[in-house]
Structures are given as C-alpha cells and as structure tokens.
Symmetry: C2
Subunit: 351 residues, 2 copies
C-alpha cells in the first residue's frame, strides 16, 4: 500500500516536472521575436577582387555591427535605436561608402545622404548633401523626431544639426587614400572617354555610369515590442556631379518601414530605385496583393528592377521577423542576427 502511494507520488512528481519543462519550453518559443538585418552595399563584388584579409575585415565589421544591434534589442531597446547604432558603426568604418568611408564627388569633397523610418508611426527623417556631419543617420533621426519636416538638404540641414547641438567634423575627417585613388581613376577614365568622343555640349562618360558602386549601408530591425524600423546611409557615387541625389534619402525608394507590412533598406543604382519606388513597392505588394515578404522582395528586385535595368538589392524584414535579402548584382555585403544571437553573414552570390 505504501509502495503504491510512493509510486503514485513519483508519477505525479514526474508529470509535474514534465509539465514544467514543457511550459518552460513553450514560454521560450513564445518569447518576443527580435531580429536585425543589415547591408553594406551591393555591386560588382567578386571573390577575385577581395584579398582574404579584406574579406575578413568586411565580415568582422558586419559581425561587430550585428552584435551591437542585437545587444540593444535583447535588452528591450527600440528597433530605431538598434538601426541608428548599427548604421553609426558602419558609417564610422572606412570599409563602406557612408560616413568615414564615403566616396568623393567630382569636386573632391564628400556629400552624404541618409534616411530613417519608424514602422510604428510611419514617421520619417531624411537628409541629403551633408558635408560636415559624422553620422548622417543620427541627423536623419533628429529631423524625424525634433522637426515637423521629413527632408532637409545641404547647408540648411547642417544649420538644423547645429541648432540641435550636433558636432561638426571637417571634410578632412572623411579623407581616405583608397577613395581618393578611386576618384582619380574615375577622372582619368572620364578624360579618356571624352577624348574619344566628338565635341558635345555636355557628356556623362560611360565609365562614370559603369562605375556606379552602389555603396550604401542600411539596417532593418524588429524589436521585442513588435516595431519595425529601417535606415539607410550613403556617400553616393564616386565622381558624382551636379548635386546628384540617389535613392538613399528618398522615403519609399531607399527606405521604408511599416509595422503592418515590412521594413526595407535598399542599395543599388539609385536612379532605377527611385523610378521603381522600390522600398514601398515591396510593402504594397504584401499589403495589396497578399504576397509574402520573400515573394514581394523577389518580385521587385529580381523581376521588375531587372526588366527596367536597375542593378542592386534590398534587405527586408516583415513583422514576423522573416528576412529577405535579394540582390541582382554579383554581390552584396549582408548579415543578420536572430533572438538567439545566431549570425548569418554573406558577401557573394553563392553563399
């Protein structure tokens, strides 16, 4: 009799233990999803053009940014904070065409653009043509949060930065030997191409068009509260002229975020991305046609953009934390990190 009781109690205890285990397990699987996906630009990025050390440097920096963003999200931080922090790290690196690593314009200076969007409120901020701002993404966020405007450009935008107490950097901060060499190469190609052509009033050299490097950095984050945010920052294209602005500071083209659908940051031949309203088009295909994130992103990047002739890619995440990173160029620096800290990084097409 006593043995029977003992057996019953043992079975009950085992059952209680199992229930506890199951509930613990189901609790962790129902933990809020929080994820981060980033890019460091798309373009003609081939294995043969990168040394092992260079490749490792890119992978290390992408990892550093992902881990920093993950820490913020893990601690319950906002997706906007993660996006800004991550893009600042990429802006501060000389590896990517944004902030410190920005390419030179035709006049030998640096002009920076950036934008950010909050998927919870559909608020957005955007800046273009900055010459003295170390972290354009932070100024884009200030425009969004501290002004009634969405977009500010040039000297005016920097005046706003000053009134907001943001420090300035001299142009020399942005000088890197590598980018200066790229500019000289572009200018040499341009001269050669112009010599080969008959006199024209005005001419954009083919080399300049070919040289579009699509250098951009961007991030999309989903936080524990279920809010999506997206941001993009760039130095534009080497040897750019005439105050050219690409898609990075254009809400709907280079950046878009909406909690109902997805967050998107684009990188590519900006002109095609503006004409195709790339970032918002992915959102619209999900909202109006019921496509999944992957279907929508693939449709826009691998079909519509290809037909129009636009090269590049996007990183995108939906409200469930699904991620898509399609690109139609040879390569795209990209990476993501999930709730468990699992990191995925890619550069080339075959990975």
């Amino acid at each position: 009799m006593f043995n029977k009781y003992l057996m019953h109690i043992s079975i009950i205890l085992i059952l209680i233990f199992m229930v506890c285990e199951i509930s613990t397990y189901s609790y962790s699987s129902q933990d809020p999803v929080f994820k981060l996906v980033i890019h460091g630009g798309a373009g003609v990025i081939l294995r043969e053009n990168l040394t092992a050390e260079q490749e490792q440097a890119y992978r290390d920096k992408l990892k550093e940014a992902l881990v920093a963003g993950h820490e913020i999200l893990k601690d319950g931080g906002k997706s906007l904070d993660a996006v800004e922090a991550v893009i600042k790290i990429l802006e501060d690196s000389p590896l990517f065409n944004a902030g410190k690593g920005a390419v030179f314009t035709s006049s030998g200076i640096v002009e920076l653009d950036a934008s950010v969007m909050d998927g919870a409120t559909l608020k957005a901020g955007s800046v273009a043509g900055l010459k003295h701002i170390k972290n354009p993404i932070s100024l884009a966020r200030l425009v969004m949060e501290k002004s009634p405007h969405v977009m500010m450009v040039g000297v005016g935008a920097e005046k706003f930065a000053q009134e907001q107490g943001m420090g300035f950097v001299e142009q020399k901060y942005f000088f890197t030997e590598r980018r200066w060499k790229q500019l000289q190469e572009e200018k040499a190609k341009e001269r050669k191409s112009q010599l080969n052509k008959k006199k024209t009033v005005f001419n954009f050299s083919t080399s300049q068009q070919e040289a579009q490097k699509f250098g951009t950095v961007g991030a999309v984050a989903l936080d524990k509260a279920g809010n999506l945010a997206a941001g993009t920052s760039t130095g534009g294209t080497t040897n750019k002229k005439f105050g050219r602005v690409g898609d990075s500071p254009i809400i709907g083209a280079g950046t878009y975020a909406n909690n109902q659908t997805c967050g998107v940051s684009a990188t590519g031949h900006g002109e095609y991305f503006i004409r195709s309203v790339v970032a918002y088009d992915i959102s619209a295909l999900m909202e109006y046609k019921g496509l999944s994130l992957k279907e929508a992103a693939d449709k826009v990047v691998m079909d519509k953009l290809v037909k129009l002739g636009g090269s590049g890619g996007v990183i995108a995440m939906d409200k469930q934390g699904n991620i898509a990173t399609p690109f139609n160029s040879p390569g795209m620096y990209r990476g993501s990190i999930d709730e468990k800290g699992k990191i995925t990084i890619g550069i080339f097409k075959d990975e």
Copy 2:
C-alpha cells in the same frame, strides 16, 4: 411594280444613310482620347477670402493653361510637352506658389523644387533648392532627358542647368509684394509664439505649421498616343527653414506616372505626402488591388491621408482618360479639358 422598286431603293438608301451615320459616330467615339488635368495648389481656400476679381484671375489663368495644353495635345503633341508647357504658364504667373509666385523662405529668398515623370518609359527628373531658374519644371525635364540622374539639388542642379544652356534669373525676378508680406506676417506670428513659450533649444512655431499653404502647381496629361505624363512644381512653404524639401520633387510622393495605371500630381502638407508615398500608392492600389482610379485616389486622399493627419489633394488620370481630383482641404485650384475642348474649373469644395 415601279413604286415597289422605288420603295425598296428608298429603304436601302435610308439604311445606307443610317449605317454611315452610325459608323461616323463610332469613328468619332473611337478617336484617340487626349485629356489634361491641372492644379494650382490646395489649402484653406475659402470664398470669403477671395475677392470676385481674385477668383476670376485664378479661373482665367487656369483656363489659359488648359487651353494651351489642349492645343499641344490636339496637334498630336506629347503629354510631356503639354505638362511642361502648362506648368510653365502657372510658374510664370504670380498667382500660384511656383516660379514667379513662389513664397519666401525664412532667409527671404526663393527656393524652388519640381519633378516630372514619363508614364511610357518610367523615366523621371527632379530638382530641389533652385534659386535662379525661372522654370524649374523645364530643368526637371532636362535632368530626365539629358542626364543619367533622376534628382539634382541646389548649386549642383544649377550648374547642370548652365551646362545645358539654360538662362538664369536673379532672385529679384521672384519678388512679389504679396509673398513678402506673407513672410513678414509669418515671422511676426513666429516671434509672438516664441515669446509665449518657455525657453527651448529649438522650436518650430505652431503658426509656422498652421501656415502650410500647400502651394504647388501640377499637371497630368494623356496624349493621342496613349502616353501619360505628370509634373509638379512648387516654392515650398512660407518661412521654410533648414533646406526643407517637401513632396513635390519626390518621385512616388508628389509626382508619378505609369502608362499601365495612372499619372498623379499631388499638392498638400508635403511631409505627410512623403510618408504616405501618395502618388505611387494610388498607382499601386490600381495595379495590385484592381481599384478604379477614383476608388484608389479617394482611398489615399480621403481615407489614408486623413487618418495620418495629412491635408491636401491630388489630380490623377488613368490610361482611359478618367480623371479624379479628390482633396480633403477646404479648397483646391483645379481644372481639366477633354478632347472636345470642354473645360471644367473648380476652386471650392462645393463645385
């Protein structure tokens, strides 16, 4: 017998006559559709604020622009030509906030933005922050047709204009007593509002926000070849600061055209129009959800924008020549002209 023949011949003649009539009728109904719709801005436009003379001046200028555009389309001209010609007329008038009639920035100067899009090719051109260009719409078209870029801003854009042989005007060309007075009024309101507020590092006065006049001009045309084109031009908002850019030069927000769906030119509180990607959203609702032009334009302007708090309106036309001109503000200067030269003009809500 002879009478019977006569009767038969008469009946045959009558039938031939009827068939001819019907075929004539059906021929004319199958003539290519060509139409034009324009706007001169939306906002707090009320009967009590306009004298009879002022109202007549607006109606006359809208009519003049419509007739000029109609002549181009009637002669088989391109929708792009009609859009440019019509917007130039509105830019050259002191009545509208674009070109000659542009409002002053906080610094007491004029800064102009414009954009244009070709529905046949999805090519687009856009300019922002111009200070010396009489007709920004023409420079936007040059950017589209003579450069590999879509958007150029500030001094760079004007350098491109110069290389293209476009003449410059001095800032004094844009001076109008009326706009100068408006700026002084805004500045007085701003001072008053700042005095009433505790010390803040930075403050946008409520008066400034209220004063958004949504002054813009725009046109959408469908030509005999079935091509849609859209364009928009603006001086921005009175007392604007910090290089603020609104939706007018943003492809997808202020302007969009696609032969598969529609052409759109928007006018309103630009920040909301950028965040809502207004012009492209109308196109997306038609393409992806199968809405009619009217349903799509109403959904965006009268529902989605209202929910977000964005005031203003759009003019839109689909490839069949259907026209929609919804606005959620008290008034919008607008007009259209059809193949037969029939003109419709409206200013207030109740017409």
